[in-house]
Amino acid sequence: MVIEKLQTDILIIGGGTAGCYAALTIAERSDANVLICEKANIKRSGCLAAGVNALNAYITDGHTPRDYVEYAKHDADGIVCEDLLLSMSERLNSVTKKLEELGLVILKDENGKYVSRGWRNIKINGENIKPLLAEAVEKLPNVSVMNRINITNLAVENNRVFGAFGFGIESGIFYIIEAKAIIVATGGAAGLYKPRNPGFSRHKTWYPPFNTGAGYAMGIRAGAEMTSFEMRFIALRCKDTIAPTGTLAQGAGAKQVNSLGEIYENEYGLTTSQRVFGTTSENLAGRGPCYLQTKGISADLESDLMKAYLNMAPSQTLRWIESGSPLRQNVEIEGTEPYIVGGHTASGYWVDDNRATTVEGLFACGDVAGGCPQKYVTGALAEGEIAGISALGYTGLRDKKEIPEELAAKHIAEAEKFLSNGTGLYSTEQLEEAMQTVMDSYAGGIGTGYSFNEKQLDIAEERISRLETLSNELRAEDFHELMFIYELRERLTICESVIAHLRARRETRWAGFSHNLDHKEKDEKFGKLFVNSRLENGEIKIILRDISKRQVRDDER
C-alpha cells in the first residue's frame, strides 16, 4: 500500500455545510493552513446535494435568538443545551447574510425585506446552495481540499488529538495526517435501520445515505463523551419519494388528513415528533393511508410546487408528472426509518459553548455535534463558524505532535487485512442488511412502529456484537469496497451506543420517535437529565447529566 504523510494546522473532516463554513471562517481570520478531507466531492456532498428551498432557522423582525432557543427546547421536550442553542441562534442572521453575499437567491418583498414563512423561516432558491459554498472554499489560498478521501480514525493519546488516518477511495493511498487541531464535521448517521424502501431504492432516504456516522464512531472509539443517541429522528415525508412535507404543510397550508378525510393533526399536536406520531397512530387505528390535503389547490400553486420540488427533491416532481399532480390528488405521507442526527434532534458529541469536544484539540459542528437541535442549514453554518474560531484559537496554544510509527502501523495493518482477507461466507452488503434487520426488529424500527422493550434491546445488543465479530473477516477487492467495510463498522459502533442510550432513558419522552414499552410514560426525573456515554475499556459507560447546568439565565448574556 502506498503511504503518504501530510501535515496541516487544522484538519477539517467532512466538507459539507458545517465543514465548508468552518474553512471560510478560518481563512477570513488568519493564514493558518487548513486541509479539508472529503469522502465525496465538496461541490455536492453532504445534506445539500439536491438543494433546499427554505432556510428554516432565521430570526425575523420582532423576534430574538432567545425565542429560537425556546422553540427548539419545546420541540425537543426540554432535552437541549440552552447555551449551545443561544450561541447558534445569535449567528443565524449573519451567516444568512454571508450566504446571500455568496450568491444565494432569497425572496424579498417590495421594501427589500426577506419574505418569511412563519417567524423563523425564509424562502430561497437553494438549488445551488452547496456549489456556492464549495466555490467560495475553493478560492481560499490557504485551504486545500482533498476529495474522495475517507477518514476512518483519529490519532489520540492521553485524551489529546493530533492527527487522523484515512485512505483515498480512488487513489488507493493511505494517509497519515498530522494536525494541531481537528474539526469533525462528518454529519449524522443514516442506514442503521432497515430503510422504508428496502429494495432497489434502498438509498431513497431522508438523510444522505452516504453520511454513515464516521465522526460519531471515531469519537466513540477515541473515548469522547457523546450525548442523546436515544433521541432518534424520524422524518414525516411524502410516501415513496421521501420528499419534504414542509413546503406543502407549512408553505402551502395543506392539512394532515386520514383516509376518511378527517383532519387529524390538531388531535396530536404540531411538533415534529407529534406530526409523525399522529400519522403512525392513524395508520395503526385503521384510518390510513394518511395524506397532506392538496387536492383542489390552484393551478398557479401547483406550478410553483412543481418548481419548488425540482430545486430540492426532484423525485417528487417526477412522481407528480408520472402519477398525478397534487391538484388532482392528495399527497400520501409516512414516517421514515430512524436516523441519528444532531441538527434536527440532538445526538452527537458532548461539546462546550466553543464546540470543543471532551477530547483536547477536537472540535465538532453541524449534525455530528450534540445538544443543539433544530440547526438546519444556517445553524450548521453558525456552528461551523464557532468551531472554526475555537480551533484557530487552539492552534496558537499548541505545537504539532508527531504521530508515532507504531500507531500508524496498527491502522495500516487493519486496512491491509481487509484487502488481503480471503473471500468469506458473508459480503459487506449482507452484514449491512443483517444490521438493519436487527435494529428494525429489536431496537424500535419501522417494523415495530418505533417501539421496543428491554428484552428486545438485549437481543439487539448481542446480535450487533456478533455482526461486529463477523465484520473482521470481510474482504475488500478495492479501496471503494474498503470504504464500505469501514462504513459498516462505523454503523455497528453507533448501533451499540444507540441501544445503550435507548435502554438508559427509562421513559417515553418523544412519542413519535420512540416507544419504550417497559416505560410508556414520561418520567419527570428523566426530563431533567441528558443521557450521555463514553467508551471505557471497551464498555459503554452511561453518564446521566443534569440539564440545569446547561441553562442560560438572561443576565448571563
Binding site: 439536491a50 432558491n125 431504492s201 438509498h203 419548488a308
Partner: protein, 104 residues
C-alpha cells in the same frame, strides 16, 4: 431511484463522476461513465445537472412507484429546462429560473 447513463451519448467529460456525492459513477476502459452502484443512488440529480450531452437520465425505481418515465436537464440560456419523457411518449418541460425564489 437511480440514473442510467447512455454510453452512446457520453462524451467522456467525467463531470458526473466528479460530482457524485456517493462516488457511485466510475469511468470505464473506453473512457465513458457508468454507474457502478445503481442501488446506492440517493436521487440528488447532481450528475444529471452536470452532463453536457444529456446522457444521464434519472428515473424512479419500480419499488417506489416508478412507471418508466425519465428526466434529464437542458440548459436554456439562464433557465434550467427539466425535460420529462413520460412513459406514454409525452414530453413535459418544466423551466426553472435559478434567480427565482421558492414562494412557499
Amino acid at each position: 431511484m437511480s440514473v442510467e447513463i447512455d454510453r452512446e451519448k457520453c462524451v467522456g467529460c467525467r463531470r458526473c463522476h466528479d460530482v457524485c456525492p456517493g462516488s457511485l459513477i466510475k469511468i470505464g476502459s473506453d473512457g465513458k461513465a457508468f454507474i457502478k452502484y445503481p442501488k446506492d443512488c440517493w436521487g440528488c440529480t447532481s450528475c444529471v445537472k452536470e452532463c453536457p450531452a444529456h446522457a444521464v437520465r434519472f428515473f424512479l425505481g419500480a419499488d417506489i412507484g416508478g412507471m418508466g418515465s425519465v428526466l434529464h436537464i437542458e440548459k436554456n440560456g439562464e433557465l434550467l429546462d427539466w425535460v420529462i419523457e413520460r412513459y406514454d411518449g409525452e414530453n413535459i418541460v418544466v423551466s426553472v429560473d435559478p434567480k427565482e425564489s421558492n414562494k412557499y
